[in-house]
């Protein structure tokens, strides 16, 4: 099987490996590098469970040809916490009961991070728009939207 070399930055560390021709980024992250945080939900860009950041922008890793991330920066939920210190989004998700089965959570967090990095003080409508490509079957979304707003408010050092 033809292989292609790919080098990219994954959560501050360099990843260099050979990937199968045509492999999607999610397979390379999960099976190649061993970063299991992106989840495979649909393989067609509908559910958003595989959302990662490529050069800071949200992308669907199931629809990304792995070799196109050559030289780019990829961020996943595995790199969200700074050591033992959780990201504000993670804390807010925990307190706000914003996950039940947890399968959409990684993708939700990355979609939310992309939003807050670009827009630290979003409106509720902007939060809803930012996660509109991420499906959740358990929560009904409201706790997730609340948690993202809580994290934004805390990061902005405002009282909730």
């Amino acid at each position: 099987m033809p292989k292609a070399p790919v080098t990219f930055i994954l959560n501050d560390a360099e990843a260099a490996l050979f990937v199968d021709a045509g492999a999607p980024l999610i397979d390379v992250l999960r099976r190649g590098v061993g970063d299991l945080t992106p989840k495979h939900g649909c393989g067609q860009g509908t559910c958003g469970a595989c959302t990662v950041l490529i050069d800071g922008k949200a992308h669907l890793s199931c629809l990304t040809l792995a070799e196109t991330v050559e030289g780019k920066r990829v961020d996943t939920t595995a790199g969200l916490a700074g050591g033992p210190q959780l990201h504000a989004l993670q804390d807010a998700f925990i307190e706000g009961f914003a996950a039940q089965c947890g399968f959409c959570t990684s993708g939700m967090l990355m979609a939310a991070k992309a939003l807050l990095d670009a827009n630290p003080d979003p409106s509720r409508a902007e939060v809803i728009e930012a996660i509109s490509g991420n499906l959740c079957r358990c929560t009904g979304y409201e706790p997730i939207v609340d948690a993202i707003l809580t994290a934004a408010a805390r990061t902005q050092r405002r009282a909730v």
Partner: protein, 620 residues
């Protein structure tokens, strides 16, 4: 904004609020794993040299399999094994055989014919998923297409094609007697005759896919000591283990199942298909094998909540009291039975909804069609009929010109009322729900309706007793297919009557298997010691009682009865399906004989030395 309002003022004395956890916000114990992405789902277990297994699936609803040519697929790059039905040691099962319910009717892999679009006819195991997919496309199956049936009532018609030969009438056989589940409580036909309005309507619910974000899947791998480990996202780990042991004819002690973490399930992950398939792959190749559905398969072959059709007929008085309710229900089980026949029994116990109605009859059919088999989903067996019932309540309110909330409060069941399945209602709260909902929606209700309570007036007089019931024996197994039964609705003419109450004779259902399953005798409405009840003219002809604002309506004037003498021993439960009275009912002995199963309880696997946890006598 999400907000929850606790109405702790309601039923305050029925609840202990000094609990440490219950009723208080808490942090999920698994959520740290979720937000850090470390929660180990089945697919997060990495195995060196793991192979990928994919199914070859039927493009037809119904077709005979003439031949399967796997030779080209076997020569494809990366292909390790192509498997067919011949590789499944015991290729016939029904999910609930583990609790001795139903007949084995479903192969893991179709061999003689396919019964729904997407049914597996072969599998390919290859080094990569892509190679497996390429080889699947190279398997040639020669089909001879058969006539199919996709509608429940067409499936019951005499000329319908036989979908599943194990159930040649396209319907489940209930209690070895009828082609439907019967419920008879009181006499609906007599009540319809005196009702001021008779309201009929049909309701239908399409199949609904559970659509978990994580599709069904399993990874199986050889372990030491000739065992196989299986990481799975099943919602029913020991069901899946027992099913795998049966289909693969393996001692369950050779199976090491690891689960408990599912990326959503909602009922769609109980069917135990991916687990035996993955373990079969591991057995055939000696390598770790992953078998998972992609999203398209999850939608096409993942069992949904089945479609249902319900016809309701209500007899209603001018004042809004419902005096009779009749159901004709059809469950679309798809090509195989799985859990639908059980869901119907559960659903029948729910009829006629949360209302006190003195005359109820129901025929519910579990139909086999050439659709994807149906399975569990949140409240299955209840959801569709509840939709039908509540739509029907609005129709009734319109017909009698009544506030729909007040109509519900008028007919609501209350603590102590006898339900049609012959258990007394307890912890009822419909009235309070209606009152709170009306107030939240600013929907005005009368002071009288606002003053009602689920705790007051329930079980008074006939509300708490089992009425004399008209029975019939229409719809015996096979009669419909021979054109002997014209209608599907409950019979218009009774062929027998079950006396009111159960006096000293119990109608014996399945004996309880554990003492803690014994129903509290006080709750099941026995009128022990009452004189054998003879139907009296007054029961059917006297004018209906007028409801008063404070007291709930009497269901029907009845004879004064002697206070029930509690049975000296817990009485066996009453079967929801009354048997014909002339049939010699088992005499309720003063002391029921201890339960001794005639057959050893087993999970369908008859093998020497098998685990006591999956076979042998049920422990007492």
């Amino acid at each position: 904004m999400s907000s929850i309002e606790f109405r702790k003022d309601l039923f305050a004395d029925e609840r202990d609020d000094n609990l440490k956890e219950i009723g208080k916000p808490t942090v999920r114990q698994d959520i740290l794993g979720h937000v850090t992405g470390r929660t180990p789902y089945y697919d997060d277990h990495l195995f060196d040299g793991m192979l990928h297994m994919r199914a070859v699936r039927s493009p037809h609803h119904h077709a005979e399999i003439r031949s399967i040519d796997t030779s080209a697929a076997e020569r494809m790059p990366g292909v390790r094994r192509v498997a067919t039905a011949r590789d499944v040691p015991n290729n016939l099962n029904t999910l609930l055989s583990l609790i001795n319910f139903g007949r084995d009717d479903e192969p893991l892999c179709a061999h003689d014919k396919v019964r729904y679009r997407g049914e597996a006819v072969a599998w390919v195991i290859a080094d990569t998923e892509r190679q497996a997919r390429d080889a699947v496309a190279a398997v040639r199956v020669d089909y001879s297409v058969l006539r199919h049936v996709l509608d429940v009532e067409e499936a019951l018609a005499p000329g319908a094609p036989v979908v599943n030969e194990v159930y040649p009438n396209n319907s489940f056989d209930y209690h070895a007697k009828y082609d439907h589940q019967k419920l008879r409580f009181g006499d609906v036909n007599a009540a319809f005759a005196r009702a001021d309005h008779v309201i009929e309507a049909e309701y239908q619910m399409s199949p609904i896919e559970q659509a978990p974000i994580e599709t069904c899947g399993a990874i199986a791998a050889p372990e030491t000591n000739d065992r196989f480990v299986c990481h799975t996202n099943t919602q029913a780990l020991f069901f899946s283990l027992g099913t795998t042991a049966k289909l693969l004819d393996m001692a369950s002690s050779r199976l090491h199942f690891i689960g408990g973490t599912a990326g959503g399930g909602f009922g769609g992950k109980v069917d135990s298909i991916v687990e035996p398939t993955a373990v079969l792959g591991a057995v055939l190749t000696g390598r770790p094998v992953k078998f998972a559905w992609d999203r398209h398969e999850e939608m096409q072959v993942g069992a949904p909540r089945g479609g249902e059709r319900w016809r309701l007929k209500d007899g209603v008085m001018h004042d809004g009291r419902i005096i009779a309710r009749e159901f004709t229900g059809f469950f679309d089980s798809g090509a195989y039975m799985r859990l639908s026949p059980y869901a119907i029994i559960k659903g029948t116990g729910h009829l006629p909804g949360p209302y006190s109605i003195p005359n109820v009859a129901s025929n519910v059919y579990c139909c086999i069609t050439n659709r994807t088999p149906a399975t569990a989903m949140r409240g299955f067996g209840i959801t569709a009929v509840d939709f039908a019932i509540e739509c029907q309540m609005d129709r009734i309110a319109e017909a009698v010109g009544m506030n729909p909330v007040e109509l519900r409060i008028l007919n609501a069941y209350r603590d102590g009322d006898m339900k049609a399945h012959r258990r007394k209602a307890k912890n009822t709260a419909l009235i309070e729900c209606c009152q709170v909902a009306a107030s939240k929606a600013n929907w005005p209700i009368s002071a009288s309706a606002a003053s009602q309570s689920s705790l007051a007036g329930g079980g008074q007089g006939d509300r708490g007793a089992i009425p004399e019931s008209a029975t019939d024996e229409e719809g015996r197994i096979g009669d419909r297919r021979q054109g002997k039964v014209a209608t599907t609705s409950p019979s218009k003419s009774a062929s027998g009557r079950v006396p009111a109450g159960t006096h000293t004779e119990a109608i014996v259902g399945a004996p309880v298997q554990n003492p803690d399953m014994q129903i509290d005798a006080e709750r099941i409405g026995h009128r022990m010691g009452a004189a054998p009840t003879v139907p009296t003219a007054s029961t059917t002809t006297s004018p209906p009682a007028t409801p008063t604002s404070a007291a709930p309506p009497a269901l029907a004037p009845g004879q004064p009865v002697a206070p029930p003498a509690p049975p000296s021993v817990p009485a066996p439960p009453v079967a929801a399906s009354p048997v014909a009275p002339q049939q010699p009912a088992a005499r309720s002995p003063v002391t029921p004989a201890p339960y001794e199963p005639a057959q050893p309880f087993n999970r369908g696997v008859k093998r020497p030395g098998s685990s006591p946890f999956t076979s042998g006598f049920r422990r007492r």
